[in-house]
Symmetry: C2
Subunit: 204 residues, 2 copies
């Protein structure tokens, strides 16, 4: 902020995270790796410690995965099936005790998924989240109770190095080359009121 030409320092695991679209179709996630991902999600914070999150784990080739692949939007049906595992995420949108917590179910699920992504990145795994699939079809097939909402899919796998790839659809490969873009800080951080820039303060 003091020197606008130098981006602020952040953890490599945050700066270098990206959403790969080409996964190694032969890679399998071990049970220990899966356990670490779920453990990272499990320890996320949540409003009132309600922990309003759950995951249906679909491994490439199993029954849950078959259901998922059949429910994908056209845009996701090409790149996604080779990923090793997909976690279908659920938020408890009808809270058990305090109705006021409903507004935090998706927020807290997002935190748990972010923890999972950070953990995955630290293990050299790639994660690509997606929302384009038939949510009602999965809720029915996975027998999700009414108190829970199907929210997103989280594809996890080994990003496939370019020099090892065979048979990858060019449009899928192209997705990966897109530059990562974000809004400037001035559009997301405000001082005093919405839209006001952060005040410049003397450097400590």
């Amino acid at each position: 902020m003091t020197d606008p030409t130098t981006p602020p320092l952040i953890l490599d695991v945050l700066r270098e995270r990206r959403s790969p679209s080409v996964f190694d179709p032969a890679h399998e996630l071990s049970d220990d790796q899966l356990a670490s991902l779920l453990e990272a999600a499990r320890w996320a914070p949540s409003n009132g410690n309600a922990q309003p999150w759950a995951f249906v784990v679909a491994r490439r080739g199993d029954a849950a995965h078959g259901v998922l692949v059949g429910a994908l939007s056209r845009g996701n049906s090409g790149w996604l099936p080779p990923a090793s595992v997909v976690l279908v995420t659920l938020a408890r949108t009808t809270p058990e005790h305090k109705p006021a917590l409903a507004d935090y179910a998706r927020y807290d699920l997002g935190q748990a998924v972010a923890h999972l992504c950070v953990q995955a990145a630290s293990m050299g795994l790639g994660v690509h989240q997606f929302g384009g699939f038939d949510h009602d079809a999965l809720a029915a097939a996975y027998e999700v109770p009414d108190e829970w909402s199907v929210v997103s899919g989280v594809a996890v796998g080994r990003p496939w190095p370019v020099d090892e790839r065979t048979g990858v659809d060019p449009s899928t490969a192209e997705r990966e080359l897109r530059e990562r873009r974000r809004k400037p800080l001035s559009e997301l951080a405000f001082g005093t009121r919405f839209g006001e820039p952060l005040p410049v303060r003397p450097t400590h």
Copy 2:
């Protein structure tokens, strides 16, 4: 998962994160530190890269902070004011382009906040999120547009070591000693369908 007596390995920054309730009332967050926190949030993933998040930054002692402190619930008015900075979080719940993204505004905000918390933990800062305050009062005072919802507060500061503390309310100090608890993995990760345990697979 293979050995239920050993918890799965996760990053220290995730395992050791907790929400402190006693902050050093003399600590000030530097602009560079604040920039790193916001930069971590900025690079979070989001559905369609919509980045539906924003933050009003309230520093202890400034006008935005005064407004916030006046809007706190009784449960938060004791522990919170000494924190160095509070970020009031906003989700764009009326999306700019695709209405279908509304369901992801809070989810993606949660991801951005989780990134911020991980970054803070890596810098030795404590973060304590809270929802108990008059959201409408802050929306009015901060002139938040109708397309955005006030969602949470994120208090950031230096956790105050026990041997340096003076004048801390005993009930606030007690909050910190609570053991961190989470549901067991069997209540949040399912195979095949909701409620089914994850299948046990041979170790690789």
